[in-house]
Symmetry: C2
Subunit: 605 residues, 2 copies
């Protein structure tokens, strides 16, 4: 039943060599990896305008130079990550680049920051999509947590089905969104050219009283939230078809152009139509209404926008398991993140991300707005570290023509560092928790690593000298009475060793005498040791007896306790047996250095 | 820590031979076993008056003849149970007597009915005591479920500490209650004699219009609720000091006299002081107020009454585990009810009763009044069956002078049967569930019995012919790599058998080649079989391999799978290992007929 449901939801298991078919074409990769970045177009311009409007509508013209500054930063990031992709063809996320050039700890800061960030991405984007839905259908507002959780469940199942399959499904909404935004931009430009809109943009370059550098920087850093998700491609190189690096680099450039064009287009339209941010309507919605009126095209664009916000979560689902895999490969996360599931995805990473983001949504009751600054800084810290790593690399390697790439990375690093600082200064109350959880995560990474290293040291073997040795062996069989089960167990023991002791724990003299007599009568060829338990415990006298067996034997001998265990036909039959064997097993396992052999006895009825 | 807490709550474990000291003296037995019966004095008279008042205050004089009828029934029951005690000195509850004389099924009806009834007793009496407390302190009303649960917890701990200890503690409130009621009766008679009370009782023997036989029978049956708990002594004979039968019989007679005197005393006082039942004040409270006024004696009597209602639950805690023990001894309940705990009580029965009654209180939110008729009929069914059993016994055995006891049991049987019928007719809507749960309980008893009988048949051995035989043995060791763990495991296997196979499950060619090369280099004296898993599962290829091993070998050979298992130093380290060994163990245990040997490897760090 469970297997059938799993097959229905996830699909048939796939053979390992099918992995090659699971690789992504550029078109699909763009869909999977860019939904996070592209979706930020839906709110990037608005973030800038929201800061500027605090001074007044006359200040809105600043959005144009600021948007171009963001565009410039985007270009720098794209160029910088393009360099990374070629430098690290096996996947060069911030973790790898920082670790490789700036040392493990810095790498872990970047990796931990990104891991946590992906969880935030899922929580924030599903909440945003839920808000879009509940704005349209207010009756659903009560059920927002459930809706968000259902979304996470959907993305989880899609991703468990495998990368290509989720890519195939996701391609349509992503490209529909791109199409919709370009439709809006072209329509907008046409309207503006023909002068049909009848609106007056703020005077460009007008002097604005009260404007400060601090405010402009804040507007700029807010606009930079449109750049989150840009790093996804460089993390996911192993998912690309060969030649992976080249395909990844091209996909990145493609994404950069689309993202840049969409972002600057929206910003320009917002300016020329004189649009100011409103509390109850998004900037994109206002532009669309101005350009097309509130007809069918308006609703189409709105719907596709809501969809893309939800799909931003999918980028995290593509990136998190890969990053977790890399951390696990370096022994900073448990092995289980390296296991490929039935459909060749890293299922454990997918499920882990799904559970944590679901918990975050439940804990915050679907109200994740406070998490957005945290989420932004969680992206820009690894951005900064990754570029600092690249700078170090250029300086160290001094390959031919290293200066230009070095300058690009330096500019990128300085800009992202500045954005980090601006976030820290202007939104400290919302981002201070990063100083709490980052050290915790890094400490956990190091603890895990320490354990694996100790383990490896302990288990390492010198194949030339350390061979297994044959030793003596004693088998102890606890017996509760003379039954077929005991006969079966003794028969098994006799085929393994000649040194066998049966142990009976009796509660009173009469019982013990009866047992001794019956045993003598049976005479199975094994001596019986009788223990008397004054406290009616079976486990403790037995454990003491095993101690003495161990003590008497040479240290080189193996002591095996052979525990017969019923396997009942029906589950409730287990309630009818005292489960002494399980108790004994658990007790011995925890306390004694003995081998425990379970001899199953299958009941026929 | 847990052990310490257990020691503090329950006390040190006791040796089996200390059981003799745990036997009860008559005085203590009376306290433990009669609290249920004696507590019914607090509401017995009131139950009669409540039925009569529906016709009018002039009908209240009927309470006197009805009370004497109840007294007569009490005498019959006491005499009848006295006969049972001597006939069944090992404990002659309704279950034993009915089973012995009327067959197993009838015995199970009586036993099942009583078992369920004890659960109801605990729920009803703790709820009643809670009501008494929350009447005094209304602020506690919200917390009634918690209060009732705390009471159950208290009684449970007392009983887990052992019989004598709980008897010692319970003696004081029980005898205080007896003292209080007699004080009330003597004080009342004095007041009535001296004519200080200035009240007018209803005219005795006055003709009352509207009175019917049905109503009188109903009043009588309601009054009979004062007789619940009378059977407790006959169940608990094994708990008495020697000579157990004699002591038990004397205790029973003693209880009969005290109960009878208290009941008839309260009924008479209620009559002579012309007391009618009120919604917000109990009859006992009214009598007390009339006799002593609302002073310190009044509050003393009220407090002691609340206490005894609570302690009625304790009788069930004494009787239930014993009855469960008897049913388990006859293989109708799981073995675990036969195990004596650290303090020599049947702990499992105590805990089981505690949990079920707690669940009942939680399910009913502490509102257990609807359960009272069910609880009463649950007592009178076994009463009837027990006496029918005794009748059969007299007829069958025809011992000297059997006629008088036969007549006593016949009268008793007819009366209790009548009461059952009255309950059924007048309160069908509240008691019909008995026709639901009794068959279920009896079906469960029979199913359990069937399993134990099948088991015994299957496990029985012919000691003269069926000896264990030595057979061949193959050991299969799954290996994941060449480590100290595998060396340790192979070393152990070599000391048991010469026929050992190591099995490696690889995912790709490169991995497999590497392993084969390293194994050849190591050369541990064991051949390595390599399996290729295209679906990345370790368990399934291994299981298929074991199938072929089993198929190749003669049927008489034993196949052992030796599973190495880490024992980590810290619990969280378990998260860092994939637990393949546990998975493998569970899978093989469920599907394969192989022996599973767990070879622990204790990690040092």
């Amino acid at each position: 039943m469970v297997t059938k449901l799993k097959r229905f939801l996830i699909g048939r298991p796939m053979k390992s060599h099918e992995l090659a078919n699971e690789k992504l074409s550029k078109l699909k990769a763009l869909a999977v990896l860019s939904s996070d970045a592209l979706s930020s177009v839906a709110y990037g311009t608005e973030q800038i305008l929201l800061v500027l409007i605090t001074v007044g509508a006359v200040a809105l013209w600043y959005s144009i130079p600021i948007s171009f500054a963001v565009l410039g930063l985007l270009a720098i990031l794209i160029l910088s990550y393009r360099q990374t992709i070629y430098a690290y063809p096996m996947g060069g996320g911030a973790y790898i680049v920082a670790k490789d050039n700036l040392g493990t700890t810095v790498g872990l800061v970047a990796g931990g920051s990104l891991l946590v960030d992906y969880i935030l991405t899922v929580a924030v984007s599903t909440s945003a999509a839920t808000d879009a839905i509940t704005s349209a259908f207010p009756v659903l507002h009560e059920h927002r947590v459930i809706i968000a959780l259902l979304m996470i469940l959907t993305v989880t199942i899609l991703n468990l089905r495998g990368i290509t399959e989720s890519a195939t499904i996701l391609m349509y909404p992503v490209y529909l969104f791109v199409f919709a935004v370009f439709l809006l931009i072209i329509g907008g430009i046409y309207q503006w050219m023909t002068g049909n809109a009848h609106v007056q943009p703020p005077v460009y370059g007008a002097a604005v009283p009260g404007i400060t550098l601090f405010l402009l920087l804040r507007a700029f850093s807010s606009g930079c939230s449109a750049l989150t998700g840009v790093e996804a491609v460089s993390n996911a190189i192993p998912n690309f078809r060969e030649p992976a690096s080249k395909n990844a680099a091209r996909t990145l450039i493609m994404m950069g152009f689309i993202l840049g064009a969409m972002f600057i287009g929206i910003s320009l339209l917002a300016y020329v139509f004189g649009i100011a941010p409103k509390a109850d309507e998004t900037v994109v919605s206002q532009i669309t209404a101005t350009v097309f009126g509130r007809g069918i095209i308006y609703y189409f664009i709105q719907a596709v926008t809501a969809l893309i916000l939800f799909l931003a979560a999918n980028t995290a689902f593509a990136a998190f398991p890969l990053l977790a895999f890399m951390l696990a490969k370096d022994r900073f996360l448990p092995n289980m993140f390296m296991v490929r599931g039935d459909r060749l995805g890293f299922s454990n990473g997918i499920i882990f991300l799904s559970i944590l983001s679901a918990l975050l949504i439940i804990a915050s009751q679907g109200d994740t707005e406070n998490l957005i600054p945290l989420y932004a800084i969680g992206v820009f810290i690894p951005f900064t570290l990754s570029q600092a790593g690249m700078m170090k690399r250029w300086i160290t390697k001094r390959l031919a023509g290293w200066l230009l790439p070095f300058v690009i990375n330096t500019i990128g690093m300085l800009t992202t560092l500045t954005i980090c600082l601006i976030f820290l200064i202007t939104k400290f109350s919302q981002v201070w928790t990063i100083f709490l959880f980052l050290p915790v995560v890094i400490f956990a990474f190091k603890k895990v690593n320490e354990h694996y290293r100790d383990l490896a040291d302990e288990l390492r073997i010198d194949v030339t000298t350390e061979k297994p040795e044959k030793k003596g062996s004693v088998i102890v069989i606890p017996v509760a009475g003379i039954t077929q089960v005991i006969r079966n167990t003794i028969s098994y023991a006799q085929s393994l060793s000649d040194d066998i002791v049966a142990v009976y724990v009796g509660f009173d003299d009469e019982e013990i005498k009866k047992m001794e007599k019956k045993w003598a009568e049976w005479d199975p060829g094994v001596r019986l040791i009788v223990l008397r338990s004054r406290y009616r415990s079976i486990v403790r006298p037995l454990s003491r007896f095993i101690d003495t067996v161990e003590w008497k034997k040479a240290e080189t001998d193996h002591v095996t306790v052979m525990i017969p265990q019923f396997i009942t036909k029906r589950w409730w039959h287990n309630l009818l047996h005292n489960q002494t064997s399980l108790l004994l097993r658990a007790y011995l396992f925890a306390r004694q250095d003995v081998k425990i052999s379970t001899v199953p006895y299958r009941l026929k009825k």
